[in-house]
């Protein structure tokens, strides 16, 4: 069942280069996307691809310049009063930086209990037990509620961040690079925790990452973004087994494989830099770096089109589609 649907989202920001004329960064350009209940959608892209902005737009933490987000069929921007408040709490987020995501001046108890009390998810009498239960759920001892954020390690803070996101019984959680600031030995703990919680609470997750490996591990479907647009979206296995878009291919080839026998082929590596998203290249934004680029790529913006035998696998590259998948 469809839980979230985005239609033609656009979002720009004023560029910070102040001497220049007021230019705008095109963070998200013409994105339509559906998220189904109880799935994990992976969103992968490099810096400037607009993946975080898209995540924030989907849960209403930011408003699009144009386009609409529907949550259970309702237009987010049209919600008012109690409805708005309710929907607001059903969509949560886990941030990347565990050091900035908790108020340093508050005890964990205060951080977790305030929203519970405000939204009447708990009473003064039982809020203590509820906080303790939340902490146990994410693998922390109930006693930690008396402590301050600076007394925890990065991984533990991320657990607290997850507990906060869980506290209001959300339907959707956006995980914005939740493990990229953590040590490798801690990353798996958090990934496993997210997986467990999703199974237990039937959560819908949007998992944002710049690396393919962790996203493959967690996601049911994966969307690949490049300079504000989605270039390919497919089932997690499918994306790797029959890759269409040349950028997706390059991304896979560039990810260092932990196996010394399988060396990266220099021929498969992308050349060139990621262009600025203030003045993205004309036509297909990827064409200056693309090994398949033809003249038409410079002019026409490719639309997401299903691959021949799979309607759920969409690719924004007519040339790759004509040539068949990997």
């Amino acid at each position: 069942m469809t839980l979230l649907r985005a239609e033609n989202l656009y979002r720009t920001f004023p560029a910070a280069g102040g001497f220049a004329r007021r230019k705008r960064v095109r963070a998200v350009t013409d994105i339509s996307l559906t998220m189904y209940e109880n799935e994990t959608l992976g969103l992968v892209g490099e810096s400037g691809s607009g993946k975080s902005t898209l995540g924030r737009l989907l849960i209403g933490l930011d408003q699009p310049d144009s386009g609409t987000v529907y949550y259970r069929g309702q237009d987010l921007s049209q919600l008012k009063g109690q409805d708005k408040k309710r929907v607001r709490t059903e969509m949560q987020i886990v941030f990347q930086d565990p050091w900035a995501s908790l108020n340093p001046r508050k005890r964990i108890y205060d951080i977790l209990s305030a929203p519970l009390l405000y939204h009447n998810y708990a009473t003064k009498a039982d809020v203590g037990t509820k906080v303790a239960a939340l902490l146990e759920k994410v693998g922390l001892s109930p006693e930690s509620s008396e402590r301050y954020p600076h007394e925890f390690s990065g991984g533990q803070r991320q657990r607290i961040g997850i507990a906060r996101a869980l506290s209001l019984n959300p339907a959707v959680i956006v995980c914005d690079e939740p493990v990229s600031a953590l040590d490798v030995s801690i990353q798996a703990q958090i990934l496993n925790l997210l997986q467990e919680l999703q199974d237990e609470y039937n959560l819908t997750l949007l998992f944002i990452s710049h690396g393919l490996a962790s996203i493959k591990y967690l996601s049911d479907r994966i969307a690949v973004m490049y300079l504000g647009r989605i270039v390919e979206i497919a089932g997690a296995e499918k994306l790797f087994s029959s890759t269409y878009h040349p950028y997706t291919r390059a991304l896979i080839m560039s990810s260092p494989v932990p196996d010394p026998y399988r060396r990266q082929e220099p021929e498969a590596l992308l050349s060139g830099e990621i262009p600025s998203n203030i003045d993205p290249p004309s036509g297909c934004h990827f064409h200056p770096r693309c090994p398949l680029a033809e003249d038409s790529c410079r002019r026409e913006i490719p639309q997401l089109t299903p691959v021949p035998d799979d309607l759920t696998h969409l690719v924004a590259c007519p040339i790759a589609l004509a040539g068949g998948g990997l």
Binding site: E46, V184, S254, S255, V257, R263, Q264, L269, I274
Partner: protein, 363 residues
């Protein structure tokens, strides 16, 4: 240039210990570190944050922050112990014979001088040539590291370049005087994967082309597999394993190494793979631990592990570990290994890369 044979170490570090002054008094953040880098070899140092890998590199360059000091040890490089040199003597080596590439190129390049100015300065510090000649040389270097328009880049400031270009500029700067050893400290961690792959490829080519040794410091196991010939694994201020890259992935000798390999997701994995998480966290005040520092998180721990300080000992010809149980042959996963096979694989991989490079240079 000193004549060094291929099996001669370029750099040889013995019993290195580094301590820092902190609010709680003097803390030993690295101890008992010994390793060698051979000519033309890429030595990878892998470890999590706080394991001591960066301070090891900084100590070799004499760049430890003022609160830190080398409290013990030697580092022999081209016949001199780096730790006994005066800053002035050190200046004749760093930038010339050993160069370093840092993680964040934006803050590591001076914002108020042009790229050209900063490269030329490095060249002229070690070569007695005119500014014009040095500028010409700088342009050549920039073009070698893959800059499309070197003459233009010479006049630009760091903030005008993209992340990948900045890192290329840093590499060009490091190459200025044809160093024997390049230290790359998380040189690509803040870059995107497609850019990281380019930079790493460049580094590998340069090392082959100039027979230059590389000390590659990273937390990324994937990069280690792709780049390193030999590997040092660090945990909580100690080296826990020292081996070659093929042996490391095939037959890790230390429980931490094994756990680390298990915990990393890979795009090659099946989707249903269960990630084995290492429980717990890196102990914060590890220099207070008297026994094995990994004991608290180790799946194979026994009381004797906590009893005495662990030391590095060889398991066989190609593995050294800091684990008493592995040394006593009590861990079933530490199966015997074919050191010779790894050596051959290593040599073959290098040969293939060399062939590819010469082919590319010819065209």
């Amino acid at each position: 240039m000193m004549a060094t044979g291929h099996n001669e170490p370029v750099l040889s570090v013995r019993d290195l210990a580094i301590s820092f002054k902190t609010e709680q008094g003097e803390r030993i953040l690295l101890r008992d570190a010994s390793f060698e880098v051979k000519r033309g070899e890429v030595l990878g140092i892998v470890g999590e944050s706080g394991s001591g890998k960066s301070i090891t590199a900084l100590s070799l360059m004499g760049l430890l922050p003022v609160s830190g000091r080398v409290s013990h040890g030697e580092a022999w490089f081209e016949g001199q112990d780096l730790f006994t040199l005066s800053p002035r003597q050190l200046d004749r080596i760093r930038g010339k014979r050993i160069a370093m590439i840092f993680q964040d190129a934006l803050t590591s390049l001076n914002p108020v001088f042009t790229i050209g100015n900063q490269i030329v300065e490095g060249i002229r510090a070690h070569q007695d040539i005119s500014k014009a000649q040095a500028t010409q040389q700088a342009a050549q270097l920039l073009s070698r590291v893959g800059m499309a328009d070197p003459d233009n880049v010479l006049g630009q400031y760091a903030h005008m370049l993209s992340g990948g270009m900045r890192q290329r500029a840093m590499i060009a700067m490091a190459l200025a005087s044809e160093p024997a050893l390049i230290i790359a400290d998380e040189a690509t961690s803040s870059l995107d994967v497609t850019i990281q792959a380019q930079i790493m490829h460049l580094l590998r080519e340069l090392s082959l082309e100039r027979d230059m040794s590389v000390l590659l410091i990273t937390h990324d196991i994937g990069l280690i597999a792709q780049m390193a010939d030999k590997v040092i694994v660090m945990y909580a201020g100690e080296i826990v394993e020292n081996t070659d890259v093929f042996t490391l992935f095939e037959a890790p000798g230390h429980p931490y190494t094994r756990a680390l390999l298990e915990t990393v997701p890979s795009i090659e994995d099946d989707k249903d793979r269960e990630l084995q998480a290492i429980p717990g966290v890196v102990p914060e005040d590890y220099d207070a631990i008297s026994g094995c520092r990994f004991a608290g998180r180790c799946a194979y721990v026994e009381p004797k592990c906590r009893e005495s300080r662990q030391i590095m000992l060889p398991l066989d010809k190609c593995r050294q570990v800091r684990c008493i149980r592995a040394q006593n042959n009590e861990l079933e996963f530490v199966h015997s290994t074919q050191c010779e096979a790894s050596k051959i694989a290593l040599a073959r991989r290098k040969q293939e890369a060399k062939a590819k490079l010469s082919e590319r240079l010819r065209t």
